[in-house]
């Protein structure tokens, strides 16, 4: 791959999965029209889900998933030591994601319910940045592949990436969607960071806030409007805590 005749550097990348659904990793091999160029623009050193070539000589590490067990903390520390750049990939890695919902329950009872008398180790779900330093967070459940491609291009060309400051509403309106509020449904579009191209409100289910808060989210005003429209606090809170991107703001 060349741009204006200049060969970019091909960063040596690695992809590691922790507690999650591997849907974010899957996005890396989706968008088939450009996937060959995408994989060619980097040097894939360690990506267990698709390759048996495994080496620890990487520069950029993508981390998918939340952290929920001691052995994961050790693995994560080792990766941090090697990586020049460490990127949290997806809402699980950035915020804890849906995994964080389990933190509201009693683990002993939870273990009893799922595994009976056998004890299986589990810790409260945490985001990667709660354990080690993270250089860049790419939120989304799953991440938006075009955005990941843009970010990797910035890495390849050594140019900082700016996430959009605007909320999801902006991208929703661009597609002339009927606002789901008008249909009597709740939507977190006004307070959530844009950049995903608003698939959820466009698809008919409203935004559930997987990318976390927009730059200046006006959460108080949003709650006021939601109250006026008679959405129960229970419903609003269930929505805001779903992907745990608003953790600590409620």
């Amino acid at each position: 791959m060349k741009y204006l005749g200049i060969k970019p550097k091909r960063p040596k990348i690695a992809v590691f999965d922790f507690t999650g659904c591997e849907g974010c990793e899957l996005q890396l091999v989706n968008k088939e029209e450009t996937v060959i160029d995408f994989l060619g623009s980097v040097d894939v050193i360690n990506f267990r889900e698709i390759s048996s070539t495994i080496s620890n000589d990487f520069e950029v590490a993508f981390i998918e998933g939340a952290i929920t067990r001691d052995d994961e903390i050790n693995r994560l520390n080792e990766i941090r030591e090697q990586a020049k750049v460490l990127i949290a990939l997806g809402s699980c890695a950035c915020f804890g994601g849906v995994n964080r919902l389990k933190n509201a329950y009693d683990f002993k009872k939870a273990n009893q319910e799922v595994y009976g008398k056998q004890h299986k180790e589990t810790l409260p779900a945490r985001a990667v940045k709660e354990i080690i330093a993270v250089d860049l967070q790419i939120p989304g459940c799953p991440v938006d592949k075009p955005e990941v491609e843009r970010i990797v291009q910035h890495l390849v060309w050594d140019v900082p990436y700016q996430f959009p400051a605007y909320p999801v509403c902006f991208e929703c309106k661009q597609q002339y969607t009927t606002c789901v509020f008008e249909l009597g449904q709740l939507c977190l579009g006004p307070v959530t960071q844009g950049g995903c191209r608003a698939p959820c409100p466009v698809g008919g289910s409203g935004c559930w806030g997987c990318r976390g808060p927009a730059a200046d989210p006006h959460l108080k005003e949003f709650l006021q409007i939601a109250d006026e429209r008679e959405f129960s606090r229970k419903e609003i809170n269930e929505r805001l805590s779903f992907y745990s991107g608003f953790e600590g703001m409620l």
């Binding site: 390759s51 929920t68 919902l101």
Partner: protein
């Protein structure tokens, strides 16, 4: 020949999730041959408690990034059964079309990007971009089509946003374009068959019980009766008696059994139990590739996946024709929650999946249970591994070849481990 052999694969590659293979042979005798799942548990069944019905489908989709549509559909079906809701014919067809998209995407991903490197003797699909450019382009087109179908019907390729309790949020207008792409895909599937025909499938047979949905008048994907090749038949609601989950000390995934110490689910199980309902072209592909029912070679699951792709593409064309002919636009029915319980059984790419919910009268979940295909396969993988090692160790196979064969055996099941430890 009396040999000492060791195979120790920590976090097997080219599969979804984390699992280990351990084999120890001393003087030609197996000391140990294990398949263990060490993935971190996530406690989805616990997280579902107290959740509103409108979030169950979105939450459970996150059990698995590769079969998120399947989880969502099983979840919706469980909820709709609990509330006594029947969705419209149009929504039923759209959901099946979305399901087909996911199966196509998942089977092609597994067959050409995860399994094929073993048969073509490369460590991953990346070198194939140079050595087999046409095959890679063909596989990418097919995978892309699967994802496109999901996007058109479900609003996005992974984690659907348009599949809701009560039906499907909108009726897509991109169906005619999809139909053309599906017609072209039949040509690609012909090329895929030619390529797969060159794969050397290990000659290994092991008598196995196969469990799947039972097709009545069509090859089954969503809902219906349950059947095993050992002759057991049950209603969807009786799934627990079909799976008999138990906890193994060394695994974070549970294990299952039915008539024997283990059973198998997945493409090969569906094929074995329902081959008579396949599209004629899919049956032709099966016979070209030497897949005859009832087949007890677990490596043939790879072949059964391709056979299903041929069926799915043909069936999707028929579904689109029916959808375009129908004058009804109705894709959603009103939803009124009621107290009760429901089970949703769906054939996802890796086998039969069950969701089971109990609701209170306000539509909040009181109790939830999900039984995952790979959970049902794990004990069978473990026992099959034992038999495989016994057979080849007796033949005096070397460690590295045995390690490859063990890895290939596990990959044949296309295990989805994070899913199995949900």
């Amino acid at each position: 020949m009396k040999t000492d052999l060791n195979v120790d694969v920590h976090h097997l590659t080219r599969i979804e999730g984390h699992g280990n293979i351990e084999v120890q042979i001393k003087d030609g005798k197996i000391q140990e041959a294990r398949w263990d799942v060490v993935e971190t548990p996530r406690y989805f069944e616990v997280m579902l408690k107290g959740k509103h019905f409108s979030s169950a489908g979105f939450l459970t989709a996150r059990i698995c990034g590769i079969c998120s549509f399947g989880h969502c559909l099983a979840s919706l079906r469980a909820t709709e059964q609990a509330f006594g809701i029947t969705i419209t014919d149009k929504a039923t067809k759209l959901r099946l079309l979305a399901k087909h998209g996911e199966t196509l995407q998942s089977h092609i991903l597994h067959l050409f990007f995860l399994a094929a490197p073993d048969f073509l003797e490369v460590p991953s699909a990346i070198p194939l971009i140079e050595s087999h450019p046409d095959a890679v382009a063909m596989a990418l087109r097919l995978k892309s089509l699967g994802n496109r179908i999901c996007e058109v019907v479900g609003g996005r390729a992974t984690h659907p946003v348009s599949l809701l309790v009560g039906g499907v949020a909108r009726s897509p207008d991109e169906l005619p374009g999809l139909r053309d792409e599906l017609e072209n895909a039949l040509v690609d599937l012909g090329a895929a068959t030619e390529l797969v025909r060159t794969f050397e499938i290990p000659d290994f047979h092991r008598e196995t019980e196969y469990v799947s949905l039972k097709g009545e008048d069509q090859y089954p994907f969503i809902g219906g009766r349950l059947v095993s090749s050992d002759g057991i038949e049950k209603a969807e609601q009786e799934y627990a008696a079909m799976t008999n989950e138990y906890v193994d000390q060394r695994n974070t995934s549970k294990w299952c059994k039915l008539s024997r110490e283990s059973f198998a689910v997945g493409a090969l199980a569906r094929f074995n139990n329902n081959y008579h309902l396949l599209h004629p072209q899919a049956l032709e592909t099966a016979s070209t590739l030497g897949l005859d029912p009832v087949c007890h070679n677990p490596f043939m699951n790879n072949i059964a996946q391709l056979v299903e792709c041929v069926h799915i593409v043909n069936d999707s064309i028929q579904l689109i024709d029916a959808l375009m002919e129908s004058d009804s636009e109705l894709t959603m029915v009103p939803v009124t929650p009621q107290a009760g319980e429901g089970v949703g059984a769906v054939e996802v790419p890796r086998g039969i999946l069950y969701h089971h919910y109990n609701y209170n009268k306000d539509g909040y979940i009181v109790k939830a249970n999900c039984v995952i295909p790979t959970t049902q396969n794990n004990a069978n993988i473990h026992h099959a591994l034992n038999d495989l090692v016994t057979k080849y160790a007796e033949e005096g196979m070397k460690s590295d070849r045995l390690e490859l064969l063990c890895s290939m055996l596990v990959r044949s099941y296309d295990p989805c481990i994070s899913c199995s430890v949900h």
